[in-house]
Each structure stands twice: as C-alpha cells, then as structure tokens.
Symmetry: C2
Subunit: 576 residues, 2 copies
C-alpha cells in the first residue's frame, strides 16, 4: 500500500554503486540540456528566465519520490509554457509582480488538480483527447510558438497568443527591427539547425554514433556559450541587444501563492487544460519507454507524481512542469536506471543556480528564442496529418478543426473544439449504424450480406444484422430501418435481429425494441433475436422485454433459419 | 419535389365529402378541448389568456399545409409554456408590454430555428436526447408545473421556475391566501379528477365506451362552464376572486416582433431548447400514430411544418406551439382523416374568439390553474422511473440528474445536464470494452469465453475477442489489456484479436494497434487479426498497418486456430 503511493520504496532498497554511476552520467547530460531549455521556456511563458531554473530543482526531487516512471525527465515544456503565458496574460500584465504571483497560483492549481485526479483515479479522462486532436494541437502549437519567438529573435516586443495577433504584431513593429539582435538570432538558429543535421558528418569524421548523438544534444549549450561569449566580448548589450541580465544567485524563495478568489476562478479552466494536456504528454512518453524495458507505469500514481511536482514548483517560485520529450529521450538513451537521475539533475541545477548564474548575464534573449524556434518546428508533424487524411476523413476533420482553431483562436479554444468535435463525430457515426440483410451461404451454417454475396434467402424471413451497440443516439434509426424494411416488403412474416455486434442495449434502445415488437405485431410480423451476447442477455432478462417478445431468442442465426425458413433447399447440416 | 415541401398536395386532391365529415367531427371535439387548455397554458407562460387562443388559430391552418402528420393537433403545451415563462422572465417583467413582445420574438426564433433545422436536415439531432432524459424531464416538469399553479389556485402571486423558489414563494405569501379562490380551485380540481375517473361508472350506467370517453374528455370545458357560471352568479370577482376578465373580441393583431439584438441574443439558448424539446415530443407522437395507420412521417419536413406554424404564431401575436399529447390522441381516436381537421379547429377557435369571448370574462383563474395541475400530474411517470432503475443504473443516473436538476435549477439546466451526462456515460461505458479470451468448443468450429465455458485452449496462443468498436476513448485501454495479457503469460507466442464485434477503428485506435504490433514484436510475440468486417478491412487497407502487421489476417477464428495452435487434438472438421 505504502509502496503504491511512494514508488521510491520499490527501487531505493536495491540502490547501489552501479545504479548511482549510471544515473549520475545520465543526469549530467540532462542537466546540460535543462539550462538553456529552462531559461527559454520561462521566457516563452513571459516569466523571468530564472523561474525556469527554479522549476527544475525541487519538482525533480519530488518526482523521484512519487513518480512511477524510471526515466521521465520533468521540467518546463514548450506547449505548457505557451498555455501558461496565454492564461496569465488574462489576469495580469506581463512583467508585473502580479503576473509572477499568478504564475505561482496557476502552478499550484495544476498541482492540486493533477493530484486530485490521481487520488480520484480519473486517469481515464485523458482518453477523451483523441490522437488526431493531440497531434493537431502539437503541430499548430509548433507554428504558434515559432511565430511568437520571431519577435524576440528580431528584437521586437512580443505580443499575442494566436497566429493572427502575432503576425499583426510583427507587421506593426517591423520598423523597430533591431538588425544586430536579428543577426545574433539568425546565427544561433543557423548553428542549432546545422548541429542538429551534423550527425552523418561527425560519424564520417570518425566519431562513434553515441558520441555524435551526445555532441548533437549538447548543441544548445554550445550555442548559448558561444553567443554569451560574443555578447560579452563585443559589449553588445550596450548596443541594444537584449540579454538575460542579472540573475539572483540564490535558491528559489519558498512562499505561498495568492489567495485572491477571482484569480483562482479565472485560472481554473486553463489550469484544467494544462493538467490534462501535460498528463497526456507525460504518460504517453512514460508508457512508451517503460514498455521498451518491460517496466510498468501506473497512470493514477503518475498523476500524483506530476501533481506533487507541480505543488513543489509552486512552493519554490516555479512554473508548471511536465515530462519533457527531448530530455526524457536523452535520459533514457544515456542510461538512467532509476528516478534518482532526476533528483541528481535537480541538485545539479540548484548548484548551477547558486554559483554559475553570473555566467548567463550576457546571454542574448535572441539566442533563447532561436532555441525555442529550433525545437518547436520539430513539433510540426506533417506525416501524421497526411496519414490521418488518408485513413479517415472524420478524424481529419477533428484534427483540422484543432489546428485551425488553435492557430486563429489559441490553444484552449483549439483543444476544446477538437474534443467536442471528436465526440460529436463519434456519436454521429454510431448514430447511423451499418446494418445488413443476410442470407445463407448455400450448404453452410454461415450467413453473409445478401448485397455482397451469392446467398440463399427467404422472402418471408428477414435476417437483419445490426453492426453497432444500440443506444439513445441510434435507437430511432433502428426503428426507421425496421419499419422501412417491412413497409417495402409486405410479404415478410418474421424479422430476426442478429445481435452478434451489439455490445450494449441502453434504456432508450430497449424502448425502441419494445416499440418495434409492438408495431410489428400490429401488422402480424413476428420479431426474433439471434446471437445475443451474454452480458446483453443478462440485462434483457431484468426487463419485461423478453416476456413481450412475439418471437424467440435463437442462439445462432442458423438456428433461426432452420426453424423459420420455408425455403425448399433441405438443410445440409444437422448441427444447430 | 413540390409535394415533398407541400405535403397538402398529397391529400387535398383526394379530399371528399366523407373525409370532410370525419375531419369536422374530430375538429369539433378537439376545439372544445383547446379552449380551456389554450387559456390555461397562456396563463402558465405568464401571458394574457387570449394569447393562448391566438396561438390556436393561424398555426393550425399553416400546419395543415406544411405538416406531414395526419393527426397531430398542435397548439400551446404545458412544458413548452413553462420553458417560455422561464425564458421571458429573464428579459422582461411578467405582465409588461415588453414581456408580450419578447414572447412574440421567442416564438419567431423557435419558428426560424425549427424551419432551418428542417431545411438543413438536422432532424437526427433530436436523437441525442435519450429516453431517460426526456422521461425525467417530463416527470420533473409535471411537479414544477403543478407547484407553480398551487399559487394561482390559492390566489397568491406566482413566482419562480424551480421547486425551491416556488415553495419559498408559497411559504412567504401563505398569509395572503384567499379562501374563496382556494375553494373554487379545489372544487374545480376535485371535479376534474372525479370526471377523469368516472369511466367505469358511466359505462355501468349504460353509456357506450366511446361516449364515456368523449364525456371524460369534455370534463375541462364542463368545469370551466360551471365555475364561470358560479362566479357570475355569486359576483365573486367583486369578492377578490381573480378572473380572466375582459378579452378583446377580435382576431389576433398581425405584427412584427422586436428587433432588439440583446433580446435575440439572450433568448437564443432557450429558443433552441424549446425547439428541440418541442420537436422530439411532436415527432414521437406523430410517428407513434402514423405507425398505427401505416402512414409515414418525414422528420425533416415535420421540422418545417412545426417551424412555419411557430412563425405564423409569432406573426399573429401568439406563443410557441407544438404537438399536444392529449388533443392529438383525441383527434386520432375521434377519427380525423387528414390535416384538414387542424384547419377546421383553427377556424372554429377564430369564430369563438370573435363571438364568444364575453362568456369567459368571469372564468376564475383558479379553475384554469386546476386544469393545469390535473393535466401536469399525469406527466409524472413513476412507472418509467422504476423500470429504468431496474434495467440500468447508468441510464437511471442520467434520469436522476435530469429530475433533480430540473427541480432545483430549472428546465434548461436539467436538460443540458441530462444530455451531457448521457453522452459522458455512454463514452465511459464504451471506454472500457468487454473483452474475453476464447477457446474452442471441443470438436466444433465455435469459440467461447474460457471463463464461462469448458473449452480447449493453447497456452502459446491467446485468442482475444474485443466486444466494442475501437476508438480514441478505448484505444489506450486496449493497449493495456494486451500488454497485461502478455506480461501475465510469458509463454504466449501469438495474439489473435478477434474483431467480429468491431464496427469501427478510428485513427487513434489504429495508432494503438500499430503500437501493440511493434511492442509485441519487441518481445517476439506475433499479432494476428481474425473476423475483420468488410468496411473495417477496407479502411485498414488504406493505411500501412497491414504491411507492418507481424502476423496474418484470418477470415475466421477457426482458421487462426488451425494454423497457429499446437494443441494435439486433431481438428475434427476440415472446413475453414
């Protein structure tokens, strides 16, 4: 029991020198990645760069205690930072004290919501975000994030959370473009993209694949070091290039968030969306990697792990944190063995915050913007968009709505529209179930669609197979189908509903079956059922329907055929 | 084409003296019922009594032209009047000119919405109101309507649209109770209920069943006549008994509604709900009766019929109209043959409005309240509540939420909560699909659940039957089920997913199948499919899944068994 809620107890007793060495090596690489990413994502969220570091200390240590994934590397993440900025800008002006306070409140709310969802075992809620919606959301947010950082890269003020607002902002301030900043931005971006593509070149020049991968992952920290050095050397801050500036060299101040109920109320919906999106991203990542190593993840405990990490982030002046795709992959491939690697990273970030922050004083924000752009364009996944379009028009519709609305109305509206449309389309599809009149494959006990196969049939007997569970949204459609059938074929004396694909009959559908039974009876047609599944039958027995049914319930379609058909062809099998 | 949009062209050419006689007789009975009901429902909607008459003239004539039901008797109806009152009270004080104007605007909006829904063929939307939700709504509104009329029956001011508000209102004004009014109200109610139960007595005293039914249906008009006569005789209006008072003896003034966009905006949601509820009630009634006589109803044209009737009602100073249950049943059993019966009723009401309104001047409103109470208590359907509870807990939950929220928060919140909960519960149920490991019934080609039947199985071969369509809400659950299976049974070499109950695989589920295929491959387990339906297979062929599938697609489970099983028992059939 205790082990379930404190997963650390499962691995800590077996911890030894070997695991420590593996974890420390992985943590070292991850820490080098955290620094530029944390600074950049804090900037994306409209917060001081140091907040990103604060969010990468205590939360990582807390996740080590409560998380179930052995390799998930948590911390600030691009999409969540964008959503954070959009939420906060509604309650306070960016850059103000109130904005930073609101960020802490939002983080605490996310933490509480995730923990509550875990405690109430609501992990399954995440299933309602369909894959096309998530994929559309990520692609659109890649575009949005890149667009938002164009302004930072050009030395312009950054404004807006929709593509239209951002493009309008760029257009409006185009005159204020700062060429030197832009040059540093483009240089950083070019270098980042070049390093990312340098794998084959590095290997050809004799490096092992693993070493080449490591060097590529270190690209951002190299670019940060180079740009900072150039800025310091050229005294570019004095020539109008925006830099990170003075960062206080102390551990995050501990404190409590605002208790203003208006702020809590207006942050509730964004906090909920951040929680759900963050959870889905993290759990998908954690499950994928756990499966590769045959470890297991508990979604509900994972919610508690992420929730407590966010609460820790809020209490230490941080921002919302979730599992980071890039750092988790590096942590996994660098060989982290236990969640202790996360705690070691957290402690390393704390040491860097204490002793090395003076080094980033001259880091240009245009370089951080370039890092965000380089990583956000990898979110744009045209492969999935194409594949979904080929596979299913209605899934594409949900994806398209998510993309378009995210771009022009922002992330929140985009998600909500995508989820609503996914559900509506699913209900619409199931509201007009496929059904088929079937006939007997001559000489067999098998029955097939009379429109697709050459089968025996009997004009007095309609064998109707319904390919969907029966519930309120399709109950009336079923009635229409049956009435239409007997109206078009007045010679029908028996209707057999073949229920092999019916997994559920709800109360509305039961009323419809009652109505069908009564109306067919009025016109001297008998209603039968065949191949009713066990759970459905159990349920029907608790109603009065079976007493009122004018016909019988057959175990198999062949049984119904044998009993009801007047067809002359003598049955060639005797089994039922 | 013209006949589709003008259903009158289908029957008018065959109209003759016989149909005219039948229609006129039915119209006579229905008109006698309309008068008290129309006055009472106008009162329930907070409108002058005469508005109920206005709404029973032109709309009936218009429905004759555009409606497809031969027997639907339209006009004001209890639940719709209650919803009208709730909607109007938000935009104007009851009794004011603005309130009457808003009623006309609301009626026009309902008309436009219904007509548009018909033109856009959106009739299927009504399917999302499940039977338990409608039934719960009717039961709860029966209670609400009765409670709201208690005040009128006792001579107290009427206030509130939730049970709590109404009970508080009664309690607050209990001192102002008017004993004489209450006496008339109770007398009227007692008489109405006594007449309703007098069927057996009347038949025992020698009347035919048909005549007894006719007399019972005339109960309200008899009570109205009696109460009016008593009031006139005893000059009770002078002694504080509220009466209908002077009713202008002219046809409804034609006119246009308000163009104030604020009012339109705040009436939009109520208008939509009134439209959907009104449509469902009408179409259910019309279809039930049409089926009895083997006539047919077009739901989309029916929307246009109801829509144009409401537009006609708005243009002639009326209120929202829909199919009335009690009058439609009487119209049907009195032998109406064509929609002309409705037009004849409409003309009769016009004549009564012109010449007989002075007669209702002394009609006490307490008697109208008693008529509403007597009819609203018939809406409370404890039988369905009990049946639903026995049949399905989750349908009962949707019904219970609808009832409770309608009573304490009003009709609109009640409907929306019921619909949301129905959909959420359906998604939840399908998100954890039933699945079963199956084995072979010895010596046959049939396969059954290994937990329920005594079957052959093979420890290297898992035959997993999934009893639900695969879509985003259950895709991850499927992954968990399969991974859990192979983790618990490391000896498994082949997993066969039996797809006989899978009617749909959406893009999210396809991703999950891809993931399952890849992960099983990692642990040297082969994935196969069996019994994939035609439409599902067509879809899979348009993706890359089948190319990547490590195993095969079998036509039948038996085929998979024959090929993959190592079980020693030699197959006893040779068919595949």
């Amino acid at each position: 029991m205790l082990k379930r809620y404190l997963p650390i107890l499962q691995w800590l007793p077996h911890y030894n020198r070997h695991t420590l060495i593996d974890d420390t090596l992985a943590a070292f690489v991850v820490t080098l990645m955290i620094i530029p990413q944390a600074l950049a994502y804090a900037l994306l969220a409209g917060l001081p760069a140091v907040v990103g570091l604060y969010a990468s200390i205590l939360p990582l240590i807390v996740y080590t205690v409560f998380g179930t994934s052995r390799t998930l590397a948590i911390g600030p993440m691009a999409l969540i930072s964008l959503m954070t900025a959009a939420a906060l800008s509604k309650v306070a002006p960016p850059g103000s004290e109130a904005y930073i306070d609101a960020a802490i409140t939002l983080t605490l709310m996310v933490g509480i919501l995730l923990t509550l969802m875990g405690a109430l075992r609501l992990g399954f809620f995440a299933n309602f975000l369909s894959h096309p919606v998530i994929s559309g959301l990520l692609s659109a947010s890649g575009v949005l994030i890149a667009a938002s950082q164009m302004a930072n890269m050009a030395g312009l003020p950054n404004a807006g959370f929709t593509l239209t607002q951002q493009l309008a902002n760029l257009w409006r301030h185009i005159d204020a473009l700062h060429p030197l900043t832009l040059a540093i931005g483009f240089m950083s971006l070019g270098l980042l993209l070049a390093i990312r593509r340098s794998g084959p070149l590095l290997q050809r020049s004799g490096l092992s694949a693993a070493r080449a991968r490591f060097l590529i992952k270190m690209g951002p920290i190299l670019v940060v070091a180079l740009a900072t050095w150039i800025c310091w050397l050229g005294e570019l801050a004095g020539r109008g290039v925006a830099v990170v500036g003075h960062v206080p060299s102390h551990l995050p101040p501990l404190g409590l968030p605002s208790t203003d109920s208006d702020i809590w109320r207006s942050l509730l919906v964004p906090a909920l969306l951040i929680s759900v999106v963050g959870f889905i991203e993290s759990i998908a990542l954690a499950q994928m990697l756990a499966a590769k190593r045959r470890e297991s993840i508990s979604p509900d405990q994972e919610l508690i792990g992420l929730g407590t990490s966010n609460i820790a982030s809020a209490l230490s002046s941080g921002m919302p944190v979730i599992g980071s795709l890039s750092r988790t992959m590096v942590n996994f491939s660098a060989g982290a063995r236990t969640p202790a690697a996360g705690a070691i990273s957290g402690i390393s970030v704390a040491l860097i915050t204490l002793f090395l922050t003076p080094l980033i004083k001259y880091l240009p924000t245009a370089t951080l913007a370039a890092i965000i752009i380089a990583s956000s364009i990898t979110l744009i996944d045209t492969g999935t968009i194409r594949r979904t379009w080929r596979y299913s028009r209605s899934d594409s519709a949900a994806m398209g709505a998510t993309i378009v609305l995210t771009l022009i109305e922002g992330v929140e509206i985009g998600i909500m529209a995508g989820v609503t449309l996914s559900i509506a389309l699913f209900l619409y599809r199931t509201s007009r179930p496929h059904s088929a009149l079937v006939g007997r494959l001559p000489g067999t006990e098998h029955f097939r669609n009379i429109d697709r196969h050459d089968v025996e049939s009997d004009s007095h007997l309609a064998l109707l197979r319904i390919d969907e569970s029966l519930y309120f949204a399709n109950a009336r459609y079923l009635e229409d189908t049956v009435y239409d059938l007997v109206t078009r074929h007045p010679e029908i004396e028996h209707v057999v509903l073949i229920c092999s694909a019916i997994n559920l009959i709800d109360a509305s559908a039961l009323e419809s079956l009652d109505a069908i039974n009564a109306r067919l009876n009025d016109s001297h047609v008998t209603l039968h059922l065949a191949e009713v599944k066990g759970p459905v039958m159990d349920r029907l027995k608790s109603s009065e329907f079976l007493d009122e049914l004018t016909g019988r319930v057959f175990l198999s379609t062949y049984g119904a055929w044998k009993t009801l058909s007047r067809n002359d062809g003598a049955p060639q099998h005797s089994g039922d």
